[in-house]
């Protein structure tokens, strides 16, 4: 067990910067998830921690050791890969014991540890199977056993569940959380799936274009996103954004306006800002009392209703003339989340209110969050 510290990690390829000046301190025993869209540099960051890629600049410490120039085998880490990467020519026992045998542990110790690891991931009785004779979930468990058998200082997991089917993914997610609790080891986890990030992590590190956007516990990222990117990336369906500007008594955009005192929120009149509100923080006007502090009501037209059973997604247009974009999230459109008993029909004219306490303001130029509540 050990902490992992990244200081100024930068990885440049000939024409692109994959990771840009990343500073991050992962505490001992913490479960940290790197999350971001494909190609954002999260896997590259993980590879630099593993030692499979050398950073162009910066240093990496694991525990008290500077491991920046050490080869992967001397870093005290183990890794689970996206494509599972079991050695196809070795049976389960040989796969799990590969690292121990390389380190010349005596046979008894190897047997004992392999048995222990197999026990944790429930692989008893499969020791002489070959990887190709196993199902995807079983292979993934072998890969995890191979990672834990060496009792490393930190686990690196690079999208380990990406190739599993949906049901198995949810099941393995719970297993991984249980594993983290049992082993109490630092885990660094990479995924583009925010559901995995939200459910498993102590903290998530949101990365975009090689730049660290926010490192915080999952709910903090959700409730107080540091900038427009985090606000849009975390949460499904994503936050609604309304582009407008600050006027003397509040915010005004093409279709909506609400009032607040610019001075108390630290914005100036004329400043271009984007207001953000999550689908569940918009209410029908007749249910306005559910909001802790409702704004005044806006007119809207119901465009499309998507009943999900436990909830209902409703795509609204602020005006009948608005051209609905394919994904339903463009200018003049609003996605809201209602309870399934809301009695509305497609084409209805309705009025909605937003919750002032849950309305975020972002500076449009820098994307930085200004406030997470208008009160």
């Amino acid at each position: 067990m050990a902490s992992v510290t990244l200081e100024g990690i930068t990885k440049r390829y000939e024409d692109v910067t994959a990771v840009d000046d990343m500073n991050l301190e992962i505490r001992d025993g913490e479960f940290v998830t790197f999350v971001g869209p494909s190609g954002c540099g999260k896997s590259t960051t993980m590879e630099t921690i593993a030692g499979l890629t050398l950073p162009t600049e910066g240093t990496i410490d694991i525990g008290d050791r500077d491991v920046t120039d050490l080869p992967p085998k001397d870093r005290g880490i183990s890794m689970v890969f996206q494509n599972i990467a079991l050695f196809p020519h070795m049976d389960v026992y040989d796969n799990i014991s590969f690292g121990l045998r390389l380190r010349k542990y005596d046979q008894e110790e190897v047997d004992r540890r392999v048995e222990e690891a197999a026990d944790i991931v429930q692989l008893e009785g499969m020791m002489d199977r070959m990887p190709k004779e196993m199902s995807g979930g079983q292979r993934q468990r072998v890969a995890i056993a191979r990672a834990i058998v060496r009792k490393p200082d930190a686990f690196l997991m690079d999208e380990p569940l990406a190739n599993l089917d949906a049901e198995l993914k949810v099941h393995m997610r719970t297993q991984l959380q249980r594993l983290h609790r049992e082993l109490d080891t630092t885990i660094i986890y990479v995924t583009h799936d925010q559901a995995q990030a939200m459910t498993m992590s102590d903290r998530i590190a949101v990365i975009n274009s090689g730049v660290l956007q926010q490192v915080a516990p999952p709910l903090e990222c959700y409730n107080e996103p540091a900038n427009l990117f985090v606000a849009g990336f975390i949460g499904s369906p994503a936050m609604n954004f309304l582009e407008g500007e600050v006027v003397d008594d509040g915010f005004e955009s093409t279709y909506t306006n609400f009032d607040f005192d610019p001075a108390t929120q630290g914005v100036q009149t004329g400043q271009e800002i984007t207001a953000g509100v999550r689908p569940e923080d918009v209410y029908l006007e007749r249910d306005a009392e559910k909001a802790t502090a409702p704004t005044k009501a806006f007119d809207a037209v119901v465009d499309v209703i998507e009943p999900m059973g436990s909830e209902m997604f409703v795509y609204l247009l602020f005006d009948r003339d608005v051209e609905a974009s394919a994904e339903g999230r463009g200018e003049g459109q609003l996605l809201i989340n209602l309870t399934p008993d809301a009695e509305i029909e497609e084409g209805d004219n309705i009025q909605v209110v937003m919750d002032r306490n849950k309305t975020h303001l972002f500076d449009r130029a820098s994307g930085e969050a200004i406030t997470h509540s208008l009160e």
Binding site: G51, L52, F81, N83, I84, P88, R150
Partner: protein, 349 residues
Amino acid sequence: MSDRVSDTPDAPNGSDPAATGVAADGGVADGSTADEPPLDPTADEPELDRGIIEAWAARMISNPDRAYRATFYVATIFFLVTTLFPFYWLFMVAITPRGNLSDVGVLTPGGFNPGAFIEIFTTLPFHRYVFNSFLIATIATVAVLLVGSLAGYVFGRLRFKGRNAMLLLVLVTSFFPPAAFFIPLNRLFNRNVDALRPLIADGSLYNTPYAIFIPLSAIFLPLSIFILMTFYSQIPDGLEDAARVEGTTRLGALFRVIVPLSAPGVATAGVLTFISVYNEYFFSSLMTDGRAGSWAPMLEGILRFQGEFEVLFNLMAAASIVAVLPVAILVVVAQEKIVSGLTSGAVKE
């Protein structure tokens, strides 16, 4: 349309059966020739007066699978006869007694004397010649696979500037005729190098196995690099990364994971090198004086049965058959791997 229909009965026998068939079909479709009772084209066939070949061709067209099968057997038999018959005939020559060599027929021997297979080892130390070739081929194969694996790893799995240029340079050396290297190499190996004196009797590589396997390894190396490169490049990166995280160096990952997973490619490269070096004559004959003790190769031994006044064809034949055995055994053993190596480069993960 009606013109063609009326033409049908007059169609000459030699015409393309396919064309006849089409015309017959046309007649059926038209239906104007009401006199002919059955309109089924297959029922028509016996009435046409066809030659044997034409009838055969018509059958092949109506049943192409037969044609494919027939072609397959013809090609296979032709191939087997041309490759195996020489061996059969060699054997016939080998068991013919020395005095009856002119009586050897195409299929029958001129007598029976299996003693030739013993005689080749008593007249000459032929086993020593075979051993020389075998040893040189083994050393060359090991050297080629070792160096080829390292080079194949670099060319197949690493990305660096000038990779393609360097690969091309390596491959270009295999385009030169080996004879182009001979004179400089011969000069080099015939020279007495003082530095080598403590290691080799007179400090010269002439008449040593080194003089043979060094140039031969170098000549057959590019092909092996190319084969191994293709195989190594197909091993998923994740496997190498996994091995390195688990505790190997890059070299360790190469020999513990990449090479075992590329077994068909390694077997192919190894067997091709072994056979080529084992059968090699040009360099081997020029780098030694032809005596068994001077590491002369197997082919040199076979040619030694050619005396001043007489050519002992039966012994040469027997020796040839014996010399083929080690390679034949090797190929049979490695056959499965070689076949999958030559036909596919796919590696299942």
